[in-house]
Amino acid sequence: MNKEFFIYLAILAVSTYLIRAIPFAAVRKKITNRFLRSFLYYIPYTVLSAMTFPAAFYATGSIASAALGLLAAVVLAVKGKGLTVVAVAASIAVFISDLVLKMI
């Protein structure tokens, strides 16, 4: 397990580093192409969205509690609450709804 672990780790760490560092170091000029600039504007958010849906619905004890947790997150985030508040509130919402669901 140990030798295998470090080979996996090397692939994980090096590929993640290079995928960040190479473009950062290589692009020295301003990008003027409007399509490219637009694409760069949208991509961080579309990635986060695709990672969240539908995976988040299966992250907790039940789809119902996950949905309530996400609902709490969306409401607070739209109200402008920060990362920490939203993340903690979502966890609390899941905890409470799982408790309540068990009692029903």
Binding site: L12, F35, L40, P44, Y45, F95
Partner: protein
């Protein structure tokens, strides 16, 4: 020094957010059979949420080195776009070896905070990276050590934290820009299609995520190109 302190302070909420998210990563890693120190090393050398999540699942299932590489390239390809985007924001002194060094710290949240600045110099970015890095390592350590002690209900609840943070990043921008809201809706809908439609659900989630995200961004870039002052670049 002033810029460094300003960066350090801007990084505090990210660091706190990372504490809870990496806590759930630590719990998950240990539940998959990893030692606590393995989880901590993974976090300290990799510093990414979704990539690590995919990675421990592949390692636990002995999924193979190629699967590891492919999953990392597809899940993390977004960092390349962020890196290019950030390269447009940095001051002229932020070049050469500094870019190779600080490139390591480009995460979704550090990128989001740095993008909100008018321009980013080395001292600010260095300060900004400190608290998230400490939070990520410390959260993984405590999660992997305490994970066995906590009841299942608490662990389940903490697993939603990472997605809560993603939503907190998307929501303010989506609220201000309808095209952006549309782009994340398209991406989410495509992602659900990959998940639920029988033929498509065989495709690995890492590849599916990249396909959905790129397709949604291309569509919106074609139909709703950003104005000059937008794009997080000026």
């Amino acid at each position: 020094m002033k810029d460094f302190i300003r960066g350090l302070k801007s990084g505090i909420p990210i660091g706190l957010g990372y504490l809870s998210v990496s806590f759930s990563f630590g719990i998950l890693a240990v539940s998959l059979g990893f030692e606590w120190w393995q989880a901590v090393i993974i976090s300290m050398t990799t510093l990414t949420s979704a990539g690590q999540l995919a990675a421990v699942n592949i390692m636990a299932a002995s999924g193979g080195y190629v699967a590891m590489l492919v999953s990392q390239l597809t899940v993390n390809v977004r960092y390349s776009f962020m890196s290019v985007s950030l390269s447009q924001k940095v001051t002229p002194e932020f070049k050469g070896i500094k870019r190779w060094l600080f490139g390591f710290f480009i995460t979704d949240e550090i990128f989001a905070v740095a993008s909100a600045q008018n321009s980013v110099n080395t001292r600010f970015f260095g300060g900004l990276s400190v608290m998230p890095y400490i939070g990520w390592a410390l959260g993984t350590l405590s999660g992997s050590l305490l994970g066995n002690i906590l009841p299942e209900s608490v662990m389940n609840a903490l697993c939603i934290a990472i997605y809560g943070m993603f939503i907190a990043i998307i929501a303010p921008v989506a609220k201000a820009s309808k095209p952006l809201l549309l782009s994340v809706a398209i991406s989410a809908a495509l992602s659900c299609a990959f998940y639920y439609i029988p033929l498509l659900s065989g495709i690995s989630s890492g590849i599916a995520i990249s396909v959905c995200a790129i397709a949604a961004a291309v569509v919106c870039a074609l139909f709703f190109p950003v104005k000059e002052e937008e794009g997080g670049n000026e």
